[in-house]
């Protein structure tokens, strides 16, 4: 593998649900160690894009590559693509970590049990190895003292940090975040963003769908702005946030800034 192969590359992704085209011809490359934040109004297809990127919801057409391996598809002897067998798809998926908006922790497992599950079941680690790894990760997200708590006993912010540790436990090459702070109470957003910020500083390859423009401006190497299923504009955070080129980006940012100034005014 050469050094300039991107960590993940999507080519001409199209996703339709019935007559509705949710993604229209999306192409995106993310380099190793790069942090990309995807912004855009709700319904713009951001979440669908993430779900296509790990084949949880296979795109109608288009291809995704992780490293130099095609995701979810293979070519037969004649070169025609066909869906990949389940076992191989699962191995590929385990290379992509995903953090969900609604945490999706398993309520019948403790915090540490949630983190150990994947390495044990999918990677075949022994219980002790999995526990060691999980302890390190819980420590990294600042929850070593909550290891034996069940999800129901954790705050939303704590649950999401466990979910991040759970994703990290698979040692994924890329981490996908699907609006990780949208389901949290405002006062809990910070602790999750701090963990993500730390990951970004350690050069973890990340694609983050978010509404937290503050986080995007600080942590992202690149911002991708989506609307109506297409990428409208992309660029460095400083450029994009101060001088967006496209009309729709400007509108989105204007509306967003107005809303935040209103909330900050209201909270005075």
């Amino acid at each position: 593998m050469t050094k300039n192969v991107p960590a993940i590359r999507a080519e001409h992704l199209v996703k339709t649900f019935g007559d509705l085209e949710v993604l229209s011809d999306i192409s995106l490359e993310v380099a190793k160690g790069e942090v990309v934040c995807v912004l855009g109004p709700s319904g713009s297809g951001k979440s669908t894009l993430l779900r296509c990127l790990n084949w949880l919801s296979p795109p109608t057409s288009g291809t995704v590559w992780i490293g130099d391996e095609m995701l979810g598809m293979e070519r037969d002897a004649n070169g025609t693509p066909r869906p990949l067998g389940d076992a191989r798809l699962r191995r590929q998926r385990s290379r992509i970590g995903m953090v969900f908006q609604s945490f999706n922790l398993w309520p019948h497992r403790t915090a540490i049990g949630n983190v150990m599950e994947g390495p044990m079941i999918v990677r075949g680690l022994s219980k002790n190895e999995a526990r060691e790894r999980a302890e390190v990760l819980l420590d990294r997200v600042g929850l070593q003292d909550k290891a034996t708590s069940y999800p129901a006993k954790l705050s939303g912010g704590q649950q999401q940090r466990v979910a991040i540790a759970r994703a990290l436990a698979m040692e994924p090459e890329i981490l996908l975040f699907d609006e990780p702070t949208s389901a949290l109470d405002p006062e809990l957003v910070g602790e999750v963003l701090d963990v993500m910020q730390a990951l970004a500083e350690q050069r973890t390859t990340m694609i983050v769908v978010t509404h937290e423009i503050g986080f995007a401006s600080e942590a992202a190497d690149r911002i991708v702005f989506m609307d109506e299923g297409s990428i409208i504009e992309e660029g460095a955070p400083a450029d994009f946030l101060s001088s967006p080129r496209e009309q729709r980006s400007r509108q989105f940012l204007d509306r967003y800034l107005k809303r935040t100034s209103f909330t900050s005014f209201a909270s005075c």
């Binding site: 699962r90 998926r93 398993w106 309520p107």
Partner: protein, 218 residues
């Protein structure tokens, strides 16, 4: 009118027959859980034909009397080369019957497991089998415990039917003694009390289980 001697005489016999009742109940419950789990997995995973197979099974079991099912199994087993196994026939028949209701109970619980949890497992690369056994079923069983408990009380209450194929459980023993003694109160009163006591201890066990699991989860 109440013959105390007959009462004292019959209680030990009834007690040993009650043990058969408990054994039959436990075996039927295990089979019910087995059939119910297989059936709910057939119904909800995407195995071709699985849905219809499971629905048909549930419909047949719910739509015919247990007594008839018991005879079909009892006279059907010899056709498979298994002869003279009344206890086995009764356990299988009651287990199959109850398995249909267990299917329905588990189905509701399985469908209540949030889709997101399953996606999280898939995103991690777990196989369908792993997702069923590690994520879905452990939760479904705990959620279903109260409903399963009342289903298994019904299993206990169906075991007297095994007497029609001469399994010497509590009710059968009662009928036999009664036929010899020509007196009924002294026998059927302790039997009725016996069932109520067994049912109560069942409920206690499952309450204890429920508390244990619920504590675990919160």
């Amino acid at each position: 009118m109440f013959n105390l001697d007959l009462f004292y005489e019959s209680v030990p016999i009834l007690a040993s027959a009650a043990i058969v009742t408990v054994e039959l109940t436990v075996c039927s419950v295990i089979l019910s859980l087995l059939f119910g789990t297989i059936s709910v997995m057939l119904q909800l995973s995407k195995i071709p034909g699985g849905y219809w197979l499971s629905r048909t099974y549930v419909s047949i079991m719910r739509g015919t009397p247990l007594l008839v099912q018991l005879f079909v199994v009892f006279f059907g087993l010899p056709l498979l080369g298994i002869k003279g196994q009344a206890f086995l026939a009764a356990a299988v028949a009651i287990g199959l019957n109850s398995g249909a209701y267990t299917t329905e109970i588990l189905r509701a619980a399985v469908q209540n497991v949030p889709e997101g949890q399953i996606e999280a497992a898939r995103a991690m690369g777990m196989s369908t089998r792993q997702i069923w056994f590690r994520v879905i079923l452990p939760q479904a069983f705990v959620v279903s415990l109260p409903a399963l408990t009342s289903e298994f009380t019904i299993v206990l209450k169906s075991t007297p039917l095994a007497s029609v194929v001469a399994v010497t459980e509590l009710t059968y023993a009662g009928v036999v003694i009664q036929a010899r003694a020509f007196s009924a109160v002294e026998i059927f009163l302790p039997i009725a009390v016996g069932y109520v006591l067994i049912a109560l201890s069942f409920t206690q066990v499952s309450r204890w289980l429920e508390r244990r699991f619920r504590l675990l989860h919160t």
